[in-house]
Symmetry: D3
Amino acid sequence: MPSERYNRGWEKLKEVDGEAGEKVLASLEDIAPDLGRFTIEFPFGDIYTRPDLDLRSREIAVVAALTALGNAAPQLRVHIHAALNVGVTRKEVVEIITMMAVYAGFPAALNGMAAAKEVFAERDKKGLS
Amino acid sequence: MPSERYNRGWEKLKEVDGEAGEKVLASLEDIAPDLGRFTIEFPFGDIYTRPDLDLRSREIAVVAALTALGNAAPQLRVHIHAALNVGVTRKEVVEIITMMAVYAGFPAALNGMAAAKEVFAERDKKGLS
Amino acid sequence: MPSERYNRGWEKLKEVDGEAGEKVLASLEDIAPDLGRFTIEFPFGDIYTRPDLDLRSREIAVVAALTALGNAAPQLRVHIHAALNVGVTRKEVVEIITMMAVYAGFPAALNGMAAAKEVFAERDKKGLS
Amino acid sequence: MPSERYNRGWEKLKEVDGEAGEKVLASLEDIAPDLGRFTIEFPFGDIYTRPDLDLRSREIAVVAALTALGNAAPQLRVHIHAALNVGVTRKEVVEIITMMAVYAGFPAALNGMAAAKEVFAERDKKGLS
Amino acid sequence: MPSERYNRGWEKLKEVDGEAGEKVLASLEDIAPDLGRFTIEFPFGDIYTRPDLDLRSREIAVVAALTALGNAAPQLRVHIHAALNVGVTRKEVVEIITMMAVYAGFPAALNGMAAAKEVFAERDKKGLS
Amino acid sequence: MPSERYNRGWEKLKEVDGEAGEKVLASLEDIAPDLGRFTIEFPFGDIYTRPDLDLRSREIAVVAALTALGNAAPQLRVHIHAALNVGVTRKEVVEIITMMAVYAGFPAALNGMAAAKEVFAERDKKGLS
């Protein structure tokens, strides 16, 4: 039986990441279902549900961090979707990524922007903000 | 004569980073004054003054990114000061850093928290928020 | 009341990390007790207690990863202690770190070896393996 | 004439990496044959042949390190093959990669798992463990 | 009206990066034109035009840094082109990348060499050095 | 008996790194003498002695790479010494590090400059260039 953390995390994952998050979990089912379960329980069940920081600020933090790290393009795309889902505007996403040129270098910002471009195009097709 | 970008950046640097930012510049004066000038002109004159993202969101992004990168402790401390200077609460700083355990691992979060602890202690002594 | 995961994690933490792990948690108590709790519940309560990999192999993996990342010296020291606590020999620790010269470069290996040197000296004083 | 280190390394490379390692060397032949030679002589001729750590432990270390670094997918795939070739089980590979969520973050673990998934599928086709 | 820095940077960008640099800028036009502008003004207008280091040395530095970082393949390819455009030979590019095996590990060097291989093939088709 | 590669590497190490390199080796003697031997044989015996790139260009590459990686301060200091030993000027060292603000972000450049400042001060005391 799923834990209470799992149920709480699953609801939050659907709210924040939407379809993109569910795909990640589906891809883990046959190889590492427990990593999928941990992904729901810890980040979403334990962390995202905490009241100490609003969802908008959380996604600003994650888009910035993944752009700066520069080695997690699939997760950056998921979180650009998530940022837009919780009310960050496209203009703000562009500004966060641009700003990473200062803290992680222009290559990190340019590659982050390429991820944003893909996400925006995908959302245009679906009529999403 | 300082450029308009320099003057604009210098005002913004004082607003955001306060004393901590000025110390960084002073340390560059005898070895690389132009890197100091670029630090004022590009990040502060060009980027921080743009209206597309509020200062609070900018500092959330920077604290997250530097915690995740994990190799820039002095700059992380400057930006924890900056975040607190522009209205991010200590509780929110703690939450941003905690969250990086998910995206960059527990060591990154633990080391980020050690930086926050130093900054909070320094501000306690000065009676700052 | 501590969760079952917390209790299970706390027992495992004491077994693996010993005193070094407890110090990490103590340092978090006044600033981010929840990050401390997560550190016990998720890595130790959820992961280390899984039967799919023996403790010796787990610590080989962690010493290698932290040496390669090269930006988490305090955690690397904790896990060199942990590796020795669960039966990895000093000679093996030296070999794991040496090997990282191949995968992450000589600077990473040299800095990892400096961490090992500190840990070995500390354990010599206490008469530990 | 190949050095003794080269011959010793070449034998070890075939034992550990199999076909995947040979492909890497073939791809270097027309552009940087000396980098290919160094790859055989130093990692394999000098390091892997040392008696101080068994091959199973070596590959656990390398899979962990490359998953954590997160910027070397082709080499991670080669070493997941290598780990399986020297007796690490698929379940253990999955556990090593899962564990990196703790030390390098969930994105690193998720991308490592995607590499494992590709390798397992390739080996299924060939009837390998 | 473009700034003097922009004009100076644009001339330098064409000299150094040629077509590859112009494509980067074109890709930014509809999503983040200001990041494009900053890319011209700061790296090229401010930095590359400084007399303190010759262009050849600058490109040696950039090819080395991007190979070592290992998470910016598109930018590494642009700068391998740039290095060859300003007089670094193919043999020297191969040597710089090989050398990164020492400082950032063999995976970084192998992935850098794969980038060089692509660039050399592209230039062969165009009859470039 | 030391190998021919060792002897050749030892001569090159003394030429390039001087006293700073010898200290690194001394620190390894009681814990990992073989890592010390590999450091002489592979980077210095195999790589630095190759005629395909002059020493000045090699050290420009290494200073750039270690500044960009940002997690190897002791080695960066050794190689700033080395760069100055083989004819790179202080002004050029400052310029290489400044330039890394573009490729790895301002924090990397600022921390690299702090390393340069230490090295220059140490050399001033000894009357070195």
